[in-house]
Amino acid sequence: MKRSDTAHTDAIDCDAGAIVTKGITKRYGSFTALENVDMIVPRGTIFGLLGPNGAGKTTMIKVLTALIPADAGSACVSGHDVRREPKLVRADIGWVAAEVILDDDLSAMENLWLQAKLQNLSDWKNRALDLLRYFELYDRRNSRVSQFSTGMRKKLEIALALLHQPRVIFMDEPTIGLDPGTRRMLWQLITGINREYGVTILLTSHYIEEADALCSNLAIIDHGRIVATGTPSELKSRVKADIVEIALNYEPDMPTFAHMDGVQEAARTENGMRLKVASSESVLPRILSCLNIDGVLKINVDKPSLETVFIDLTGKRLSDDEGRMDMRKFYATLRMTRR
């Protein structure tokens, strides 16, 4: 026992950052959700874990908070080995779930009270009231949480995560389902918490602009593997090309496009193709001239951004704006047919 413990800690330097992992692997049956993940989150930073649905972001948070054991590898959070000292880790972390988790039958204050009991805090009350004021929930502190709006619930959840003054906070898609105004306000809160309290924040996100606005460091995860890490500007500088996505209702002749001047890469996609081009302004006319215009359903051009880095690395688009547009169209057609 003793010997394996030492071997365990030898492999990893807990003090290298607020979160340090080495070789983390997690399997669900024969499916590998995380594969050999090495990660260092420097203290006091906001670190973004970006990835498409099912990439393994939530699984990573579960492993780091000792909710589920990793099958291999080791991890340290806030200086404690996750496997050997889970309680010390949990006393030092806050957690904001993607699906807001509160006790709906209790009031805001009672939710904070319970959190204080579970974290064994004695002088929590003033801090709780301060947090409620900070999050503009003070007037509603005795209302049942079931009467709160999504934004209010999210704020209360973050207040719960801060109550015991943790040094690391995990936020799983903190702004999902919020309107742009509330989302922006949460961004300010998150940077505020980070700056004022020096808390390290690991957040996962689907929103490229969120990662760009908040994070000083990023890791892009796909199929359980880290495919790129760096600061947002480092990552952006990696992809200099524009990305042109064309949806077609016919089978395109790929070699024509692959060998076209100015096209760096051409790939077939589900409903058309994706081209990496040096400059879309100069290449687009040529591309169009080779297309059967009646068969073009949609053309999308992305200038170099985190989004293009992401598409380049994972072959997928991260923001779900398109999905929302389709939904609106869907409802519109529903309404039309009803008339």
Binding site: T65, L88, A91, I101, D103, W113, A116, L118, N120
Partner: protein, 259 residues
């Protein structure tokens, strides 16, 4: 560390109790149910001749005979509340929130068991009042009352723990119902909660003799109907509760998962 466990336990138990008594339906049903029991069962023998009641139940009042039995039976089923609220916490994710604090799984388990037992205990004053309205007279000795409260509490705690231990790994809403059918019926009918043992066949008498529901019903009956009180029954019940609590805590530590 000790202090932390106590705080966590207290917080979780208070949560269970608050949640329960904020639901007006629960309060209404808690109050109405015992009257229904007593009204239906009490009436079913109301026209029986006195000599029959005396010979069969050793009392003229079937209600007086029944009260300790009905209370014991209802403590048998309280474990269902703890199981369902545990499954609800897993389903709605709240279990994750608890487990992401330094709270031990055993503490969660004990708090849930205690919570559902406490919920069952409320039936004692309600039922006793109902029975008094039906004409049952009670002893005034506080020691006897404390003993009765303790017996019911241990019985409830033991069965809640057993119940929760059997469902600790489940996330399915239906499990508590299935387990309840599985354990409640046999234990209820093989005990002396509803009928005296004298009329049982030998094999049922054997089960009845080791059935904690019998201990509790017998103990309660000597208090309500009078007679010499066997305090070792209370000790058995305490032992039963302690054992189940221990086994359940070990099982929860091993198998309580977030989803």
């Amino acid at each position: 560390m000790r202090n932390a466990t106590l705080n966590q336990f207290y917080g979780l138990l208070a949560r269970e109790i608050k949640k329960t008594y904020r639901n007006p339906w629960i309060i209404a049903i808690t109050v109405v149910q015992p009257f229904m029991w007593l009204a239906f069962f009490g009436s079913s023998f109301s026209s029986a001749p006195k000599s029959f009641l005396e010979g069969f139940f050793h009392t003229y009042s079937y209600v007086a005979f029944l009260l300790p039995g009905v209370l014991s039976t209802s403590m048998l089923t309280v474990g269902m509340f703890g199981s369902m609220s545990t499954i609800q916490d897993k389903r709605f994710g709240y279990m994750k929130r608890i487990l992401l604090t330094p709270t031990d799984k055993a503490t969660i388990f004990v708090a849930k068991s205690m919570g559902s037992t406490t919920r069952g205990m409320v039936q004692l004053p309600v039922m006793a009042t109902a029975a008094a309205l039906f004409g049952v007279s009670f002893p005034l000795n506080p020691v006897l009352w404390l003993g009765w409260i303790a017996a019911l509490f241990f019985l409830g705690l033991g069965f809640s723990s057993l119940f929760m231990a059997l469902t600790v790994a489940s996330t399915d809403w239906q499990t508590p119902g299935v387990i309840s059918n599985f354990i409640t019926m046999p234990l209820m009918f093989s005990s002396t909660a509803l009928f005296p043992q004298a009329n049982f066949p030998a094999w049922m008498r054997a089960i009845s003799a080791v059935n904690p529901v019998t201990f509790s019903a017998t103990f309660g009956r000597t208090i309500v109907l009078g007679g010499s009180i066997d305090w070792t029954l209370l000790a058995y019940l305490a032992l039963f509760a302690a054992m189940m609590l221990f086994i359940g805590s070990v099982m929860a530590t091993k198998w309580l998962k977030v989803e």
